[in-house]
Protein backbone atom coordinates (compact mmCIF):
# COMPACT_ATOMS: atom_id res chain seq x y z
CA UNK A 1 0.00 0.00 0.00
CA UNK A 2 2.79 2.42 0.92
CA UNK A 3 4.61 1.60 -2.29
CA UNK A 4 1.46 2.30 -4.28
CA UNK A 5 1.03 5.63 -2.54
CA UNK A 6 4.61 6.63 -3.28
CA UNK A 7 4.27 5.72 -6.93
CA UNK A 8 1.02 7.62 -7.22
CA UNK A 9 2.64 10.61 -5.63
CA UNK A 10 5.55 10.52 -8.06
CA UNK A 11 3.29 10.26 -11.09
CA UNK A 12 0.94 12.94 -9.92
CA UNK A 13 3.85 15.29 -9.33
CA UNK A 14 4.94 14.72 -12.92
CA UNK A 15 1.54 15.60 -14.20
CA UNK A 16 1.70 18.96 -12.48
CA UNK A 17 5.35 19.56 -13.29
CA UNK A 18 4.72 18.76 -16.91
CA UNK A 19 2.01 21.37 -16.98
CA UNK A 20 4.29 23.84 -15.30
CA UNK A 21 7.30 23.29 -17.53
CA UNK A 22 5.56 22.42 -20.78
CA UNK A 23 7.19 24.40 -23.50
CA UNK A 24 6.44 23.51 -27.07
CA UNK A 25 9.67 23.49 -28.99
CA UNK A 26 9.99 21.74 -32.30
CA UNK A 27 12.49 18.99 -33.06
CA UNK A 28 14.14 16.51 -30.71
CA UNK A 29 14.50 17.63 -27.11
CA UNK A 30 17.52 15.31 -26.95
CA UNK A 31 19.51 17.73 -29.11
CA UNK A 32 18.82 20.67 -26.87
CA UNK A 33 22.09 21.12 -24.98
CA UNK A 34 20.53 23.07 -22.13
CA UNK A 35 20.69 20.20 -19.63
CA UNK A 36 23.51 18.13 -21.11
CA UNK A 37 26.02 19.03 -18.45
CA UNK A 38 23.47 18.40 -15.76
CA UNK A 39 22.65 15.00 -17.24
CA UNK A 40 26.35 14.07 -17.46
CA UNK A 41 26.90 15.22 -13.90
CA UNK A 42 24.01 13.20 -12.52
CA UNK A 43 24.84 10.18 -14.66
CA UNK A 44 28.40 10.12 -13.32
CA UNK A 45 27.14 10.63 -9.79
CA UNK A 46 24.40 7.98 -9.80
CA UNK A 47 26.17 5.42 -11.94
CA UNK A 48 29.41 5.91 -10.06
CA UNK A 49 27.70 5.41 -6.73
CA UNK A 50 25.84 2.40 -8.08
CA UNK A 51 29.09 0.88 -9.34
CA UNK A 52 30.91 1.49 -6.08
CA UNK A 53 28.16 0.07 -3.87
CA UNK A 54 27.58 -2.94 -6.11
CA UNK A 55 31.26 -3.80 -6.52
CA UNK A 56 32.29 -3.20 -2.91
CA UNK A 57 29.26 -4.36 -0.95
CA UNK A 58 26.73 -6.41 -2.85
CA UNK A 59 28.51 -8.45 -5.53
CA UNK A 60 31.12 -9.91 -3.12
CA UNK A 61 28.25 -11.11 -0.93
CA UNK A 62 26.54 -12.86 -3.83
CA UNK A 63 29.71 -14.49 -5.08
CA UNK A 64 30.66 -15.60 -1.56
CA UNK A 65 27.25 -17.14 -1.08
CA UNK A 66 27.40 -18.89 -4.46
CA UNK A 67 30.84 -20.27 -3.59
CA UNK A 68 29.60 -21.38 -0.21
CA UNK A 69 26.67 -23.20 -1.74
CA UNK A 70 28.88 -24.82 -4.35
CA UNK A 71 31.34 -26.09 -1.75
CA UNK A 72 28.48 -27.27 0.44
CA UNK A 73 26.98 -29.22 -2.46
CA UNK A 74 30.36 -30.78 -3.21
CA UNK A 75 30.76 -31.68 0.43
CA UNK A 76 27.31 -33.25 0.53
CA UNK A 77 28.06 -35.26 -2.59
CA UNK A 78 31.29 -36.43 -1.02
CA UNK A 79 29.50 -37.49 2.15
CA UNK A 80 26.86 -39.29 0.15
CA UNK A 81 29.54 -41.11 -1.83
CA UNK A 82 31.24 -42.13 1.39
CA UNK A 83 28.02 -43.46 2.89
CA UNK A 84 27.31 -45.34 -0.30
CA UNK A 85 30.71 -47.01 -0.18
CA UNK A 86 30.21 -47.84 3.47
CA UNK A 87 26.83 -49.37 2.84
CA UNK A 88 28.22 -51.39 -0.05
CA UNK A 89 30.91 -52.75 2.21
CA UNK A 90 28.31 -53.58 4.82
CA UNK A 91 26.25 -55.40 2.20
CA UNK A 92 29.32 -57.37 1.22
CA UNK A 93 29.96 -58.26 4.84
CA UNK A 94 26.38 -59.25 5.31
CA UNK A 95 26.44 -61.43 2.22
CA UNK A 96 29.60 -63.06 3.45
CA UNK A 97 28.01 -63.79 6.80
CA UNK A 98 24.99 -65.29 5.11
CA UNK A 99 27.20 -67.43 2.87
CA UNK A 100 29.30 -68.56 5.82
CA UNK A 101 26.30 -69.50 7.87
CA UNK A 102 24.84 -71.39 4.91
CA UNK A 103 28.03 -73.40 4.56
CA UNK A 104 28.12 -74.03 8.30
CA UNK A 105 24.53 -75.18 8.29
CA UNK A 106 25.26 -77.56 5.44
CA UNK A 107 28.30 -78.94 7.22
CA UNK A 108 26.35 -79.39 10.39
CA UNK A 109 23.58 -81.12 8.53
CA UNK A 110 26.02 -83.46 6.80
CA UNK A 111 27.78 -84.25 10.04
CA UNK A 112 24.57 -85.00 11.81
CA UNK A 113 23.43 -87.22 8.99
CA UNK A 114 26.67 -89.18 9.00
CA UNK A 115 26.53 -89.53 12.72
CA UNK A 116 22.97 -90.73 12.58
CA UNK A 117 23.75 -93.21 9.83
CA UNK A 118 26.66 -94.52 11.83
CA UNK A 119 24.51 -94.82 14.89
CA UNK A 120 21.81 -96.66 13.01
CA UNK A 121 24.33 -99.04 11.46
CA UNK A 122 25.91 -99.79 14.79
CA UNK A 123 22.58 -100.41 16.39
CA UNK A 124 21.62 -102.68 13.53
CA UNK A 125 24.88 -104.59 13.87
CA UNK A 126 24.40 -104.93 17.59
CA UNK A 127 20.90 -106.13 17.08
CA UNK A 128 22.06 -108.59 14.45
CA UNK A 129 24.72 -109.90 16.82
CA UNK A 130 22.26 -110.30 19.61
CA UNK A 131 19.80 -112.02 17.36
CA UNK A 132 22.51 -114.36 16.11
CA UNK A 133 23.53 -115.16 19.64
CA UNK A 134 19.97 -115.84 20.56
CA UNK A 135 19.59 -118.06 17.53
CA UNK A 136 22.78 -119.90 18.43
CA UNK A 137 21.64 -120.39 22.00
CA UNK A 138 18.32 -121.65 20.81
CA UNK A 139 20.03 -123.98 18.38
CA UNK A 140 22.28 -125.31 21.14
CA UNK A 141 19.29 -125.86 23.34
CA UNK A 142 17.45 -127.61 20.58
CA UNK A 143 20.51 -129.75 19.91
CA UNK A 144 20.73 -130.51 23.60
CA UNK A 145 17.12 -131.46 23.72
CA UNK A 146 17.55 -133.53 20.63
CA UNK A 147 20.49 -135.37 22.16
CA UNK A 148 18.70 -135.95 25.39
CA UNK A 149 15.47 -137.08 23.76
CA UNK A 150 16.46 -140.77 23.00
CA UNK A 151 17.49 -141.39 26.61
CA UNK A 152 14.15 -140.14 27.85
CA UNK A 153 12.36 -142.11 25.22
CA UNK A 154 14.27 -145.16 26.25
CA UNK A 155 13.33 -144.61 29.87
CA UNK A 156 9.69 -144.10 28.97
CA UNK A 157 9.84 -147.12 26.72
CA UNK A 158 11.29 -149.19 29.52
CA UNK A 159 8.65 -148.03 31.99
CA UNK A 160 5.83 -148.58 29.53
CA UNK A 161 7.22 -152.00 28.55
CA UNK A 162 7.49 -152.98 32.20
CA UNK A 163 3.95 -151.80 32.81
CA UNK A 164 2.60 -153.54 29.78
CA UNK A 165 4.31 -156.80 30.61
CA UNK A 166 3.07 -156.67 34.21
CA UNK A 167 -0.44 -155.92 33.13
CA UNK A 168 -0.47 -158.63 30.55
CA UNK A 169 1.42 -161.31 32.34
CA UNK A 170 1.43 -160.12 35.95
CA UNK A 171 5.01 -161.12 36.06
CA UNK A 172 7.61 -158.93 37.61
CA UNK A 173 10.17 -158.46 34.94
CA UNK A 174 13.60 -157.25 35.71
CA UNK A 175 14.10 -153.72 34.74
CA UNK A 176 17.62 -154.22 33.63
CA UNK A 177 16.74 -156.87 31.09
CA UNK A 178 14.06 -154.66 29.51
CA UNK A 179 16.35 -151.67 29.38
CA UNK A 180 18.95 -153.79 27.73
CA UNK A 181 16.46 -154.71 25.02
CA UNK A 182 15.29 -151.08 24.60
CA UNK A 183 18.85 -149.84 24.39
CA UNK A 184 19.57 -152.54 21.92
CA UNK A 185 16.66 -151.43 19.77
CA UNK A 186 17.35 -147.72 20.07
CA UNK A 187 20.81 -148.14 18.65
CA UNK A 188 19.08 -148.44 15.33
CA UNK A 189 17.09 -145.30 16.19
CA UNK A 190 17.49 -143.75 12.78
CA UNK A 191 15.16 -146.42 11.49
CA UNK A 192 12.43 -145.53 13.95
CA UNK A 193 12.66 -141.82 14.42
CA UNK A 194 13.21 -141.05 10.87
CA UNK A 195 15.94 -138.55 11.77
Amino acid sequence: MIKKKIFQLIFLSFLFLEEAFASESGGMPQLNPEFWISQIFWLVLTFGTLYLVLSKLILPKISANLEKRKSQILENIETAEKSREESEEKIKEYNKIVQDSKIEAKNYFNQTREKMLKDINQKKENLDKEINEEIKKAEIEIEDLKNKAPEKINKIAIEISTDVIRQLTSIEVNNSSISAIVNDLSKDKDKYYGI
Binding site: F11, F14, L15, L17, E18, F21, A22, S23, E24, G27, M28, P29, Q30, L31, N32, E34, F35, W36, I37, S38, Q39, I40, F41, W42, L43, V44, T46, F47, T49, L50, Y51, V53, L54, S55, I58, L59, K61, I62, S63, A64, N65, L66, K68, R69, Q72
Partner: protein
Protein backbone atom coordinates in the same frame (compact mmCIF):
# COMPACT_ATOMS: atom_id res chain seq x y z
CA UNK B 1 -2.07 16.75 -22.38
CA UNK B 2 0.63 17.37 -24.89
CA UNK B 3 -0.02 15.61 -28.17
CA UNK B 4 3.46 16.17 -29.51
CA UNK B 5 5.05 12.67 -29.34
CA UNK B 6 8.47 14.21 -28.69
CA UNK B 7 7.19 16.05 -25.67
CA UNK B 8 7.86 13.03 -23.43
CA UNK B 9 11.61 13.47 -23.97
CA UNK B 10 11.58 17.00 -22.62
CA UNK B 11 13.99 17.56 -19.75
CA UNK B 12 12.92 20.03 -17.13
CA UNK B 13 14.24 21.25 -13.85
CA UNK B 14 12.84 19.90 -10.60
CA UNK B 15 13.40 22.21 -7.69
CA UNK B 16 15.79 25.15 -7.68
CA UNK B 17 18.55 25.85 -10.15
CA UNK B 18 21.89 24.45 -8.95
CA UNK B 19 25.01 26.05 -10.33
CA UNK B 20 28.58 24.89 -9.96
CA UNK B 21 30.45 28.02 -10.93
CA UNK B 22 29.10 28.81 -14.37
CA UNK B 23 27.84 25.26 -15.00
CA UNK B 24 24.20 24.35 -14.54
CA UNK B 25 23.87 21.01 -12.77
CA UNK B 26 20.25 21.38 -11.72
CA UNK B 27 18.27 18.36 -10.61
CA UNK B 28 16.02 17.39 -13.52
CA UNK B 29 13.52 14.64 -14.31
CA UNK B 30 16.39 12.78 -16.00
CA UNK B 31 18.42 13.00 -12.79
CA UNK B 32 15.40 11.80 -10.84
CA UNK B 33 15.03 8.67 -12.94
CA UNK B 34 18.74 7.93 -12.82
CA UNK B 35 18.44 8.19 -9.06
CA UNK B 36 15.28 6.03 -8.93
CA UNK B 37 16.91 3.35 -11.12
CA UNK B 38 20.07 3.26 -9.04
CA UNK B 39 18.16 3.17 -5.78
CA UNK B 40 15.84 0.46 -7.13
CA UNK B 41 18.82 -1.68 -8.16
CA UNK B 42 20.49 -1.22 -4.80
CA UNK B 43 17.21 -1.86 -3.00
CA UNK B 44 16.51 -5.10 -4.85
CA UNK B 45 20.05 -6.41 -4.56
CA UNK B 46 20.43 -5.33 -0.97
CA UNK B 47 17.25 -7.18 -0.03
CA UNK B 48 18.36 -10.11 -2.16
CA UNK B 49 21.66 -10.48 -0.33
CA UNK B 50 20.48 -9.68 3.17
CA UNK B 51 19.92 -13.22 4.40
CA UNK B 52 22.15 -15.16 2.02
CA UNK B 53 20.77 -18.53 2.99
CA UNK B 54 21.70 -21.77 1.32
CA UNK B 55 18.11 -22.14 0.20
CA UNK B 56 17.50 -18.80 -1.53
CA UNK B 57 14.39 -16.67 -1.19
CA UNK B 58 12.73 -15.24 -4.31
CA UNK B 59 14.67 -11.97 -4.24
CA UNK B 60 17.89 -13.78 -3.44
CA UNK B 61 17.27 -16.09 -6.36
CA UNK B 62 16.73 -13.04 -8.57
CA UNK B 63 20.02 -11.54 -7.42
CA UNK B 64 21.89 -14.80 -7.89
CA UNK B 65 20.38 -15.48 -11.29
CA UNK B 66 21.32 -11.98 -12.49
CA UNK B 67 24.81 -12.53 -11.15
CA UNK B 68 25.26 -15.85 -12.94
CA UNK B 69 23.60 -14.49 -16.09
CA UNK B 70 26.03 -11.58 -16.40
CA UNK B 71 28.97 -13.66 -15.25
CA UNK B 72 28.23 -16.27 -17.91
CA UNK B 73 27.78 -13.58 -20.56
CA UNK B 74 31.20 -12.13 -19.73
CA UNK B 75 33.03 -15.44 -19.58
CA UNK B 76 31.42 -16.58 -22.84
CA UNK B 77 32.36 -13.48 -24.82
CA UNK B 78 35.51 -12.12 -23.17
CA UNK B 79 36.97 -15.14 -21.39
CA UNK B 80 38.29 -15.45 -17.86
CA UNK B 81 40.59 -12.42 -18.22
CA UNK B 82 37.56 -10.12 -18.05
CA UNK B 83 36.80 -11.04 -14.46
CA UNK B 84 38.12 -7.77 -12.94
CA UNK B 85 35.62 -5.84 -15.08
CA UNK B 86 32.67 -7.95 -13.96
CA UNK B 87 31.38 -5.40 -11.45
CA UNK B 88 31.45 -2.62 -14.04
CA UNK B 89 29.61 -4.62 -16.69
CA UNK B 90 27.12 -5.88 -14.13
CA UNK B 91 26.36 -2.30 -12.97
CA UNK B 92 26.19 -1.14 -16.57
CA UNK B 93 23.74 -3.87 -17.56
CA UNK B 94 21.57 -3.33 -14.49
CA UNK B 95 21.61 0.46 -14.86
CA UNK B 96 20.60 0.40 -18.51
CA UNK B 97 18.03 -2.34 -17.89
CA UNK B 98 16.40 -0.52 -14.98
CA UNK B 99 16.43 2.84 -16.81
CA UNK B 100 14.79 1.19 -19.84
CA UNK B 101 12.23 -0.62 -17.69
CA UNK B 102 11.34 2.45 -15.61
CA UNK B 103 10.83 4.24 -18.91
CA UNK B 104 8.07 1.77 -19.70
CA UNK B 105 5.93 3.06 -16.85
CA UNK B 106 3.42 5.63 -18.18
CA UNK B 107 4.47 9.26 -17.54
CA UNK B 108 7.92 8.10 -16.55
CA UNK B 109 11.02 9.54 -18.15
CA UNK B 110 13.37 7.26 -20.11
CA UNK B 111 16.93 8.17 -19.21
CA UNK B 112 18.40 6.06 -21.99
CA UNK B 113 16.34 7.84 -24.67
CA UNK B 114 18.78 10.74 -24.48
CA UNK B 115 21.78 10.58 -26.74
CA UNK B 116 23.96 12.47 -24.30
CA UNK B 117 23.51 9.79 -21.60
CA UNK B 118 24.17 6.82 -23.89
CA UNK B 119 27.01 8.67 -25.60
CA UNK B 120 28.76 9.38 -22.31
CA UNK B 121 28.41 5.72 -21.28
CA UNK B 122 29.65 4.52 -24.68
CA UNK B 123 32.53 6.98 -24.75
CA UNK B 124 33.58 5.97 -21.28
CA UNK B 125 33.57 2.32 -22.38
CA UNK B 126 35.43 3.16 -25.58
CA UNK B 127 38.15 5.12 -23.81
CA UNK B 128 38.41 2.54 -21.03
CA UNK B 129 38.71 -0.35 -23.46
CA UNK B 130 41.32 1.48 -25.53
CA UNK B 131 43.37 2.23 -22.41
CA UNK B 132 43.11 -1.41 -21.28
CA UNK B 133 44.20 -2.55 -24.76
CA UNK B 134 47.27 -0.31 -24.76
CA UNK B 135 48.19 -1.31 -21.21
CA UNK B 136 47.91 -5.03 -21.99
CA UNK B 137 49.59 -5.05 -25.41
CA UNK B 138 51.49 -1.77 -25.70
CA UNK B 139 51.69 -0.60 -29.29
CA UNK B 140 50.93 -4.17 -30.30
CA UNK B 141 47.31 -3.21 -29.75
CA UNK B 142 47.46 -1.40 -33.08
CA UNK B 143 47.64 -4.86 -34.70
CA UNK B 144 43.89 -4.87 -34.11
CA UNK B 145 43.63 -2.77 -37.26
CA UNK B 146 45.65 -5.23 -39.35
CA UNK B 147 43.67 -8.43 -39.81
CA UNK B 148 45.75 -11.49 -40.59
CA UNK B 149 45.46 -13.24 -43.95
CA UNK B 150 44.68 -10.11 -45.96
CA UNK B 151 46.51 -9.53 -49.28
CA UNK B 152 49.15 -6.79 -49.01
CA UNK B 153 47.50 -4.86 -51.84
CA UNK B 154 44.27 -4.54 -49.90
CA UNK B 155 45.95 -3.77 -46.59
CA UNK B 156 45.87 0.09 -46.71
CA UNK B 157 42.16 0.03 -47.48
CA UNK B 158 41.40 -2.55 -44.79
CA UNK B 159 43.37 -0.64 -42.16
CA UNK B 160 41.47 2.55 -42.92
CA UNK B 161 38.14 0.71 -42.70
CA UNK B 162 39.17 -0.95 -39.46
CA UNK B 163 40.23 2.36 -37.92
CA UNK B 164 36.98 4.01 -38.92
CA UNK B 165 34.93 1.12 -37.58
CA UNK B 166 36.89 1.21 -34.34
CA UNK B 167 36.43 4.96 -33.93
CA UNK B 168 32.72 4.72 -34.69
CA UNK B 169 32.18 2.22 -31.91
CA UNK B 170 31.06 4.78 -29.30
CA UNK B 171 28.69 6.33 -31.82
CA UNK B 172 27.14 3.04 -32.92
CA UNK B 173 26.89 1.81 -29.35
CA UNK B 174 25.22 4.99 -28.08
CA UNK B 175 22.98 5.60 -31.08
CA UNK B 176 21.73 2.00 -31.07
CA UNK B 177 20.40 2.27 -27.53
CA UNK B 178 19.18 5.86 -27.82
CA UNK B 179 17.43 5.37 -31.17
CA UNK B 180 15.74 2.14 -30.06
CA UNK B 181 14.37 3.71 -26.91
CA UNK B 182 13.31 6.93 -28.57
CA UNK B 183 11.66 5.24 -31.55
CA UNK B 184 9.75 2.81 -29.35
CA UNK B 185 8.47 5.46 -27.00
CA UNK B 186 7.57 7.83 -29.83
CA UNK B 187 5.64 5.08 -31.58
CA UNK B 188 3.72 4.25 -28.43
CA UNK B 189 2.89 7.90 -27.95
CA UNK B 190 1.72 8.18 -31.56
CA UNK B 191 -0.54 5.15 -31.22
CA UNK B 192 -1.81 6.51 -27.93
CA UNK B 193 -2.68 9.77 -29.73
CA UNK B 194 -4.56 7.75 -32.37
CA UNK B 195 -6.62 6.07 -29.68
CA UNK B 196 -7.69 9.46 -28.37
CA UNK B 197 -8.36 11.04 -31.75
CA UNK B 198 -10.31 8.08 -33.18
CA UNK B 199 -12.42 7.90 -30.05
CA UNK B 200 -14.55 5.02 -28.82
CA UNK B 201 -15.53 3.88 -32.32
CA UNK B 202 -12.22 3.58 -34.13
CA UNK B 203 -9.83 3.68 -31.23
CA UNK B 204 -9.78 -0.04 -30.61
CA UNK B 205 -7.38 -0.91 -33.39
CA UNK B 206 -4.62 1.50 -32.32
CA UNK B 207 -5.30 0.47 -28.73
CA UNK B 208 -4.62 -3.17 -29.56
CA UNK B 209 -1.49 -2.02 -31.38
CA UNK B 210 -0.53 -0.08 -28.31
CA UNK B 211 -0.91 -3.16 -26.13
CA UNK B 212 1.19 -5.23 -28.50
CA UNK B 213 3.79 -2.46 -28.70
CA UNK B 214 4.03 -2.32 -24.93
CA UNK B 215 4.99 -6.00 -24.89
CA UNK B 216 7.45 -5.45 -27.71
CA UNK B 217 8.96 -2.43 -25.98
CA UNK B 218 9.49 -4.35 -22.77
CA UNK B 219 11.31 -6.98 -24.81
CA UNK B 220 13.33 -4.26 -26.55
CA UNK B 221 14.13 -2.66 -23.19
CA UNK B 222 15.66 -5.92 -22.00
CA UNK B 223 17.27 -6.73 -25.32
CA UNK B 224 18.94 -3.34 -25.71
CA UNK B 225 20.37 -3.53 -22.21
CA UNK B 226 21.68 -6.98 -23.06
CA UNK B 227 23.10 -5.82 -26.39
CA UNK B 228 24.75 -2.84 -24.73
CA UNK B 229 26.39 -5.08 -22.15
CA UNK B 230 27.41 -7.79 -24.59
CA UNK B 231 28.94 -5.30 -27.03
CA UNK B 232 30.94 -3.89 -24.13
CA UNK B 233 32.11 -7.45 -23.46
CA UNK B 234 33.08 -7.90 -27.11
CA UNK B 235 35.08 -4.66 -27.14
CA UNK B 236 36.70 -5.74 -23.91
CA UNK B 237 37.51 -9.08 -25.50
CA UNK B 238 39.31 -7.28 -28.33
CA UNK B 239 41.37 -5.37 -25.79
CA UNK B 240 42.15 -8.38 -23.57
CA UNK B 241 42.73 -11.13 -26.12
CA UNK B 242 44.08 -9.63 -29.32
CA UNK B 243 42.66 -12.02 -31.89
CA UNK B 244 43.59 -10.44 -35.19
Amino acid sequence: MATNPMHQFEVYRIGPEIKLGEIDISFTNASLFMLISSIAILFVFNLGTKKNSTLPSKLQLLAELSYTFVSKMISDTAGSKAKPYFAFIFSLFMFVLFCNMFGMIPYAFTVTSHIIVTFILATFIFIGVTIIGFIKHGFGYLKLFVPSGVPVLLLPLIVVIEVISYLSRPISLSVRLFANMMAGHTMMKVFGGFVISLGIVGGWLPLSFSVALTGLEILVAFLQAYVFAILTCIYLNDALNLHH
